[in-house]
């Protein structure tokens, strides 16, 4: 099963490159700590998912690159070619000249409709190259204009056109102290719209990854390259092949088979009074957790700690909510590695922060004229706020 990746904007394209590089490096790594046959199976499974075969043997990433200005895509393409190990398809890019000006409305309402056909055609071509489509992986940032606005528009289109395929959006949460002044507006508009059309939102916060670089990796002068490489490493450790339940020799067919859409049974939700945010979040309650273990002694690893019912919400016990994927083949030369993907209250605080700041700014009507200029009205903002307040409340009530 294959995944088609859509890289949007500067962030999406920079990260996308690092992800494919990490996936390729790992799959061609010789120290897999497993048998040669095992390694071969791993490598070809990874290849099928993320790369296409070319005549002269250089794998081509199954990706579509989109940006509204040319510099980053050009850089990304040449970086891949320079590595001479893998590359992007020559005709897999869509580029314009003028950028989106950090304006969600411009990305969504102007670039979206204008370039809909071209971008969807490119994606279609990529899909046709897959024997069997597993789903879409859309990499975008929330703070800018192209990734956020155009990314949302494209996701909606994918929902219409490929409704039975999984759409997972990889969202980059901007630094709290500002990369873009209107990042909170762009973020709430992105999240509220994606909620209606995406199947899963996988989030990386710049602040959190920055801390990893500083505290865990002791990097002195942290660059975006460092940050992107950490993100790529984490994604790789989740998306590389793992054994499926059926047998230990076949890799899981659906790489994005994370079943996150859990509908709580309405009749059984306990009614709760209003509680303050800080009170509710004293303990991080999860809806679902996925642990991915790779490497030595993986079968004897003890995951009992993750099965503690106290970690989970009352209406979904650990039997349903907890999953483990394992594989003996080591990841990226690490003898043992573990990754955790969690659907929990972890993001409530950051989300609440963004909504709060956006709300304060909205109350003064600052910058709104930049959005109404392109058809996003105050009402659209209010709809977004309403939806996100509901999300915050739902998570708080777990």
């Amino acid at each position: 099963m294959s995944i088609v990746t859509v890289q949007l904007g500067q962030c999406g394209n920079q990260i996308g490159f690092e992800v494919f590089d990490a996936l390729f490096s790992d799959s061609h790594c010789t120290q897999g700590l497993c048998s040669k046959r095992e390694n071969e199976a791993y490598r070809s499974s990874c290849k099928e998912r993320f790369f296409n075969e070319e005549e002269n043997g250089v794998p081509i990433a199954r990706a579509v690159l989109v940006d509204m200005e040319p510099k980053v895509i050009n850089q990304t393409l040449s970086k891949a070619v320079q590595s001479s190990r893998w590359k992007y398809g020559q005709r897999s890019c869509f580029c314009q000249k003028q950028g989106s000006g950090n304006n969600w409305a411009y990305g969504y309402s102007v670039h979206g409709p204008r370039h809909e056909e071209s971008v969807m055609n490119l994606i279609q071509k990529e899909v046709e190259k897959c024997d069997s489509l597993g789903g879409f992986f859309i990499i975008m940032s929330m703070a800018g204009g192209t990734g956020s606005g155009l990314g949302t528009f494209i996701t909606q289109n994918l929902q219409d056109q490929y409704s039975s395929s999984l759409k997972m959006n990889h969202i980059i949460w901007p630094y709290g102290t500002g990369e873009v002044i209107v990042q909170n507006y762009n973020s709430i508009l992105t999240l509220s719209h994606l909620y209606r059309s995406s199947d899963a939102l996988l989030v990386h916060e710049n602040d959190a990854v920055h801390k990893i670089c500083a505290k865990l990796m002791n990097i002195k002068q942290i660059s975006f390259n460092n940050i992107n490489q950490v993100i790529a490493h984490q994604l790789g450790s989740v998306f590389q092949p793992t054994y499926s339940e059926e047998g230990s020799f076949h890799y899981r067919r659906n790489p994005l088979g994370i079943d996150w859409q859990v509908q709580p049974p309405l009749s059984r939700l306990p009614t709760l009074g209003k509680r303050s945010l800080s009170e509710q979040l004293r303990f991080n309650t999860s809806i679902a957790n996925l642990v991915v273990l790779r490497g030595k002694d993986v079968h004897s690893a003890d995951v009992a700690g993750f099965k503690d019912p106290a970690l989970y919400t009352s209406w979904l016990g650990p039997d349903n909510a907890f999953n483990v994927w394992t594989t003996q083949r080591a990841f990226s030369k690490y003898e043992k590695s573990a990754a955790l993907v969690s659907n929990s209250q972890f993001l409530v605080k950051p989300l609440d922060m963004i909504v709060s700041k956006a709300w304060n700014m909205f109350a003064s009507k600052a910058y709104i004229h930049q959005y109404t200029k392109f058809g996003i009205e105050e009402e659209d903002f209010l709809d977004s706020f309403t939806l996100l307040e509901q999300v915050v409340a739902s998570y708080c009530n777990l």
Binding site: Q10, Q14, E69, K71, V72, Q75, Q96, K97, Q98, G99, G101, N102, N103, G145, Y175, G176, T177, G178, E179, V180, I181, V182, H210, C213, A214, I219, K220, Q221, I222, S223, F224, N225, I227, V355, S356, K357, W359, N360, M361, A363, S364, K365, A366, Y367, H369, Q370, L382, F385, T386, E389, Q390, A393, S394, N397
Partner: protein, 400 residues
């Protein structure tokens, strides 16, 4: 509207850079009279201007922005320049209009510069997307500072040639040359740094349309105070991080601003930091964290920073910083201008030169004055919120 300056350019070292067909000159000049520039020459040359603009625009794959560069105190730049803004807005409504305006200093030798400036301000208020005000006094102060550093031989430091922000050719030019060349070079560097992220690659790009989007929260408040650092590079090869941090601190000092303003003691609505060279995101963040406590931001934009990282530094430097601030510290410049205007206008001094031009009436003056007063009022209102505590507003309550 007179030939001398344009001719000098066409005979100078850059003559091949300019298209000799894309110029318009007249003979007599505008006599430091906004009305002559705006009404007389505007009307006379409107067609020609449009034709040449269209021709230039046709050569562009994607036209994003116009840069208008002029002075406020004279007649042509001020009058015809602002006339041009209106033409650009009508003809190319989707294209951004960035205006670099040289405001008259205190010791300005053009008597009617307050009139010209105020009349031009009204046009800037209404037809510009973004204005970068600059004044000669500040430019001159910066030059003096550099001269002092260069000539003092302080602690045996040597300034790297080619790194002076005042000279594109390097070398320590002596006083014989026109001081304006050095001063203008500073403004040239401002525009270079402004466009660097659009011209070169970087890990966090910033296009010109993002400047307007992030720094103009309300359409009328589009005046951005700029500062450039460093002014020169010392020949010291080992640049410790402290030097880098010093660059950030300097950007906020009132000595580095290109108009007479003190942003640190006024209110920020928004701030952009455009960094060039070997600076990474962690350096940027460290400095923002460090400087934030000493700056006051408006309540609804407490984290109002827009940042960009461009990999290519300017010639002769390892790194540089351009800070653009939407800050109430522009207010004194405007109030000063208003006062000088009022002093003249009360006595009706020199007014007849303007009123004798067809299309000019006293109402033009009073309208321009009230437009400026309204702008000053907006800034005053914002200043009043400076020391108010920041409260979180009650949020939407939703049913779950």
């Amino acid at each position: 509207m007179e030939e001398g300056v344009v001719n000098e350019i066409l005979q100078g070292p850059l003559r091949d850079v300019f298209d000799s067909k894309q110029l318009i000159t007249d003979i007599s000049g505008s006599g430091n009279n906004w009305a002559v520039g705006h009404k007389v020459f505007g009307h006379l040359y409107q067609e020609q201007i449009l034709e040449k603009l269209r021709k230039s625009a046709e050569h562009c794959d994607c036209l994003q922005c116009f840069f208008v560069i002029h002075s406020m105190g004279g007649g042509t730049g001020s009058g015809l320049g602002t006339f041009l803004l209106k033409v650009l807005e009508d003809e190319f409504p989707e294209v951004y209009r960035f205006v670099t305006s040289i405001y008259p200093s205190g010791e300005d030798d053009v008597i009617t510069s307050p009139y010209n400036s105020i009349l031009a301000m009204k046009e800037l208020n209404e037809h510009a997307d973004c204005v970068l005000p600059v004044d000669n006094q500040s430019l001159f102060d910066i030059i003096s500072k550099i001269d002092l550093m260069v000539n003092s031989g302080k602690l045996g430091t040597t300034v790297k040639p080619k790194s002076l922000v005042t000279s594109s050719a390097g070398a320590f030019k002596k006083r014989q040359e026109k001081p304006f060349d050095a001063m203008n070079n500073i403004v040239a560097n401002l525009l270079l740094n402004l466009t660097s992220s659009a011209r070169f690659e970087g890990s966090l790009n910033m296009d010109l349309n993002e400047i307007s989007m992030n720094l103009v929260p309300f359409p009328q408040l589009h005046y951005l105070v700029s500062s450039l650092t460093p002014l020169y590079t010392l020949a010291d090869v080992n640049i410790p991080p402290r030097r880098l941090d010093q660059m950030f601190s300097d950007a906020f000092s009132k000595d580095h601003q290109l108009i007479q303003a003190d942003p640190k003691h006024s209110l920020y609505l928004a701030c952009a930091l455009m960094v060039r060279g070997n600076v990474q995101i962690s350096d940027l963040r460290r400095n923002i964290e460090r400087l934030k406590p000493s700056l006051q931001f408006v309540s609804w934009n407490q984290e109002g920073w827009k940042t960009s990282l461009c990999s290519v530094p300017p010639v002769g430097h390892c790194h540089s910083l351009l800070a653009l601030a939407n800050n109430t510290c522009v207010k004194p410049t405007f109030m000063d201008l208003r006062e000088r205007f009022t002093r003249l206008y009360k006595k009706k001094a020199h007014l007849h030169h303007y009123l004798q031009i067809e299309g000019m009436e006293e109402s033009c003056f009073s309208e321009a004055l009230s437009s400026l007063s309204a702008l000053i009022q907006e800034y005053s209102q914002l200043d009043a919120t400076k020391s108010m505590p920041v409260e979180d507003l009650p949020r939407l309550s939703v049913a779950v």
